[in-house]
Subunit: 324 residues, 2 copies
Amino acid sequence: MQFMHSFEELLSGFEDYFSHRHFPEAPGTLYDPAESFLGMGGKRVRPVMCLMGNELFDEINPDAYPLATAVELFHNFTLIHDDIMDKAPIRRGQPTVHARHGEATALLAGDVMLVAAYDYLNRLDSRYLKKIIQLFNQTAREVCEGQQLDMDFEKRESVSLEEYMQMIGLKTSVLLAASLRMGAILGGAGEGNQQHLYAFGKKLGMAFQVQDDYLDAFGDPEKFGKQVGGDILANKKTFLLIHALETASAGGQAELRRLMQGTEDGKVEKVLQIFRESGIDSWAMSLKNNFLEEAATHLEEIAVLSNRKRPLTDLMHYLVQRDK
Amino acid sequence: MQFMHSFEELLSGFEDYFSHRHFPEAPGTLYDPAESFLGMGGKRVRPVMCLMGNELFDEINPDAYPLATAVELFHNFTLIHDDIMDKAPIRRGQPTVHARHGEATALLAGDVMLVAAYDYLNRLDSRYLKKIIQLFNQTAREVCEGQQLDMDFEKRESVSLEEYMQMIGLKTSVLLAASLRMGAILGGAGEGNQQHLYAFGKKLGMAFQVQDDYLDAFGDPEKFGKQVGGDILANKKTFLLIHALETASAGGQAELRRLMQGTEDGKVEKVLQIFRESGIDSWAMSLKNNFLEEAATHLEEIAVLSNRKRPLTDLMHYLVQRDK
């Protein structure tokens, strides 16, 4: 079997499996909010990564669909709970679950979504059920740790680049990495291949986050889709701000700290000016490219015919544009 | 093997297994609150019921301890999240997790506790892993449904006795029933025996809730351990209030509705007076005894030597005093 499916083909196969009701009808006060949140979309990157991880090694196992569904439900569980914790009013262009239905119902809707994820996992063949649940649980724990660190960092004066990378690794990257690896387990991959694929996913996640932080500051407002400078206005500790606070000139660092105290007119432009003067923009680009190169190296190390890797290379370019 | 362990012996065996750290050290901002909540105690009724369900049919399977731990962690997860939803300041005589550490951390601490529960389940032998996870998930879903119904009912003018019993069945009884049944699965029980044991647990849970509602109104303040009349002051829809609103004299019903509007002096005593005049106290006693008799009938139907049932009979009397 040499034929490999594209992202779009895998996505369409996943949507066919996924797009039905996942929860009982009653009580509607609990399940309708959960159900309608799932219907609001999202890019479905993680479930597609489960399928890709599988197909890298073998034809798609029918169990890959419930696995991918479990991962997507888990991801949505984290979004609902994170939005409560972050008091976020909007997600995917719509009011968040707690904004619409209250915090108590949003909390419970997240809880039943996590339970539903385990229900889908429980459909997997016993041969790999334990292995998958083990990796799934480890990942779930790490994602929670990442969210806690993110909240801890918000309250702190300063955060080192190393700490930030650890947090992003937990909050964002491990789920991408685990999605690929759980798929690979279903595909019968050996331990060494699994480890390289996992490392590929982690590095890709890091590159994606650098890009996300970069675009918030330097992105084209028309293409970016959200307010440019939002992180700066919120004093969010990003790759850019953390590195600027460590490497800008003494004057630049002092000015940054002063700007972070308030919300004066032109704050975004002034912060961007310091970023540019300190070369933060090109530093971020090269950091992203370093992560991408590390990802590519792990991908190369996976012992399968290189034409099987094409969808993962495409995915890398879909998620992170090089040198942009 | 004729020798059966008592509640205290099973509890002590469980505590030996359970009383160590369940979470990693870091980040302490997440795991210390989770860990210390587990250390605050609780009666550990549900994990002991897992062990009893097992020992009813066979010697205790080593897997019964991780199972019992999963159930106890699940129960504590529900307490942490329920306390957030109910905005409860105190639990087990101490500030609740969210009161001490903030809602965001409490929410996450609950989440990691649920994940930890699945980690313990994943230690079970593959022979019964799927069956147990299936029942565990169904139960988890139902407990969430019960909590949502409880919140829905709070906002409603009136709730029927049938609706209240359905809610209590979900919120309280199914976890007791499932604890017994999951233990019975490890003990190799057949389907019919499992069903009777599950039904025993459900009826026992109902009897327990009737007693809890009764004691809040008519209990001895010195023995009850919490404020007598607390439910009445909070206008909580209990077995007693719901039945009184359905069966008291027209004047009594009108007076109850009037008393529920405010917090006048002597409110508790006035409500109790109406309860007594309408015979709500003796009705509650007979309702409790009916549930206990139904529980006992299911216990009798279980096809094992009757001396094996002794710990469950003792449990029934430990949880619910007859005719009290």
